[in-house]
């Protein structure tokens, strides 16, 4: 009986199944075929020797990582940076999209949008360079402004307390416009008749935003938030590395920069893979938690 049910299910959805086949093939070939690489974390892998001939070492690399006197710092910094980045950087494009949505002049709207996504295309190196120069106590605009207002110039990049703010500010600057694109697309899908009806009912701008716009946008927001939470440990290495100076190591030394420095010195694949695996597991656990919570509140979820 169950078997017959399954056949019927397959027959009913045969077109859907056809639609999904190409993606599955892609997955199998390009994501699952190389998946054995995860096991490199438990070996002393040498590319020349190959996987089979490289010896197993069990949890050695993980133990090595936690034996580092500063590993708790790296983890703490990575998490804090990620969480702050999320707290400030996640809402920013949403607010920006909402503001942009209120603009009626098409040319003005296009201008703001185009200008806002340009920084997305600058390389991280250039963005960090621009910010560094801007904040330089010897020649930067910020310093000059502060001097004019009578304040002492601050060497921002050498102070561990400013690292996170600078990092996040540069991130928001670079991703604000690009991140808003998906929300703008979602906003076009809201039925204009809903707004018309609301106006007739006498709802003002804010009531409309609260009762129509946000609820309609919520599924998109939740999905994107969940996706972001699933990347919480994957703080990009480049930006932190470039803003890093010895005097701000206290906050800027994250897992990724530390692994990079070790990799430079010793081409140790397995170690990097092990740390990456550790990150992935934390990401997964966090996402499972968040997704379950989201389901409990009857919101959108990832599965």
């Amino acid at each position: 009986m169950k078997f017959q049910k399954s056949i019927k299910r397959l027959a009913d959805g045969k077109y859907l199944f056809m639609l999904v086949i190409p993606a599955v093939i892609c997955l199998l070939l390009f994501s699952y075929l190389p998946m054995w690489g995860v096991l490199i974390a438990f070996k002393e892998y040498s590319p020349f020797k190959g996987f089979a001939d490289s010896p197993w070492v069990g949890l050695k690399h993980f133990i090595n990582f936690f034996n580092d006197p500063f590993s708790y710092k790296y983890i703490r910094n990575t998490l804090l940076l990620s969480v702050y980045s999320l707290a400030w950087g996640f809402p920013a494009p949403i607010i920006f999209a909402l503001m942009l949505n209120e603009v009626s002049n098409v040319r003005y709207k296009k201008l703001v949008q185009t200008v806002s996504y340009m920084p997305h295309f600058y390389s991280t190196v250039v963005v960090v360079g621009l910010f560094t120069m801007f904040l330089s106590p010897t020649s930067g605009e910020v310093g000059k402004l502060m001097a004019m207002m009578g304040f002492e110039k601050i060497y921002f990049l050498a102070d561990a307390r400013y690292f996170r703010s600078i990092y996040i500010a540069s991130e928001i600057w670079q991703s604000l416009g690009w991140g808003a694109i998906i929300y703008l697309a979602a906003l076009t899908n809201i039925d204009p008749q809903l707004y018309e009806a609301a106006v007739i009912d006498g709802a003002g701008r804010f009531k409309r935003m609260l009762y129509i716009t946000l609820p309609c946008l919520m599924p998109t927001i939740i999905v994107l938030l969940l996706l972001r939470l699933g990347q919480v440990m994957n703080v990009g290495f480049e930006r932190a590395f470039l803003f890093q100076t010895p005097s701000n190591y206290e906050t800027s030394q994250i897992i990724q920069t530390y692994v990079y420095e070790r990799g430079i010195r010793s081409n140790n694949f397995s170690y990097a893979t092990a740390v990456g695996l550790f990150n992935s597991v934390i990401n997964l656990v966090l996402l499972l938690l968040a997704n379950t919570l989201s389901k409990k509140f009857n919101q959108a979820s990832l599965w």
Partner: protein
Amino acid sequence: MGKRSIALKVISFLAVLSIAVSLAACGNASNNTPAGSTAAAPTTAAPEATKDENAPLFDKPVKLSILMGSHASWPYDENWKVWQYVKEATGAELDIQAVPGEELPTKLNLIMASKDKLPDIVHVWAKTQSDAHAMSGAYVSILDNLDKLPNFSKWLDSISDKEEILAQHTAGDGKIYLFPTYGVQTINNLIIWMDRKDILERNNLTVPTTYDELYTVSKKLKEIYPDSYPLSFRGGVTKFDQMLQQWKPYMGTGFYYDFDNKKWNFGGTEDTMKEFILWVKKAYDDKLIPTDFATITNQSWQELVTTNRGFFMPEYIVRIDFFNGPARTTDPDYTWAVMEPPKGNTSTATNKTGKTNLDLTGYLVVNTGKQESMDNALKFVDWFYSDKGKALVSWGKEGETYKVVNSEKQFILDDKGTPARNLYGFGTYGLYQVIDETSNEALYTKENVAEAHKAAEFLEPRSNPINWLPFNESEKEISDQKLTPITNYVNEQLSKFILGQRPISEWDAYVKEVNALGVEELRKAYEDAYSRVTK
């Protein structure tokens, strides 16, 4: 019945075809006299041309594949004359894959992992690139195959610093895989003290010879030019490695080998370091060093220097031309010049600076398992050490790539001012193992060469072995685990001392903290590795 006869016909046709083709190929090969000898340059008394061995190295065409890194400033060009000469002279068909140099380590990792792509030969830019796979058995051991390397053996016995060269190229397992390069009078990567000669002369100031004098002269200059930072350093703590040498020979912020006392030391915690940091802090507090010298971008630093706000610095020697050139369009007196390194405030002070210009590039023969290819590859690389090979890659052919003017060799250039390197390929990676020093110098401007010679007298005679010291497995483990935390901690605390974020009175506590990270264990590893290599 039909199928069999068709198959037979096909096979016999193919057999005849292949015989015909190979006959034709053989015929071509024998008709192909090495172009070099027939298209030879006009008769000259140049010693290279009188070699009677004009036949190519390989008597039948040999295929060799090479993987190498391509330098951005002179990207690999298969049409370069020098590659033609090499191919003619060796009779080898070269299948060269040139990747952007910075990506070579990544590409190497991939190639090593996919066995079907192993090239016969690899050319690397740095010892670390060869060390990455050497101990996995990826390369052919040179010393075990000296019988196949006649020219190399002869050359090796002819050089005066044979022991040091061998030591520098040893891998962690005690074997040598990297073929040494030699004769590259390295102007590039040379770091030397320099000063604004014109500014000093204009203000009647004598060139400082000690760090104390450097301080007082800088202070005076700051009074005359209040917006300036006379000690225009950049790069933060890394700059110190170039300055500590003058306080104690060979000293750095990390591990270094004290040749005078024959032991390994850790610079970050020595008393001399404290003296040095005190000097830096005083200069920093008096705003003689840029406030953001640790993070200053190249752009901002260049601005400082070109707007007459920097007067002393240890820098790459090419910066002299880099700044003098454009600045002189508006200020003809603007002159950076090589300066004798000032002596530190210690009893061990010297006026020398470290040898930063070690050239550890070179060929490696890959252990592909195919005996014939490996032997051919060895023979090919060996050719570079022959007199003929050396001559060809140094100057090329008279009348084609160089001419003799007043018994001095000069490259023949085009009218667009294209450098010889980009025109012919001289001095590019893969095209030299041993070369004639004068030919390398000819690739630079005369001014640059003159400055480099001036600087040469201030270089330490030896280079810090830390640049090439090979670790075995167990030493590598210790280094992997400890070096990064120690280095980072030292850099962090030294920065804090200078910026005033940590009082210098805590120096002893700092030393204890650093030692607790395992300095002694790592130092011992360096001692062991070094004594192994220099036995």
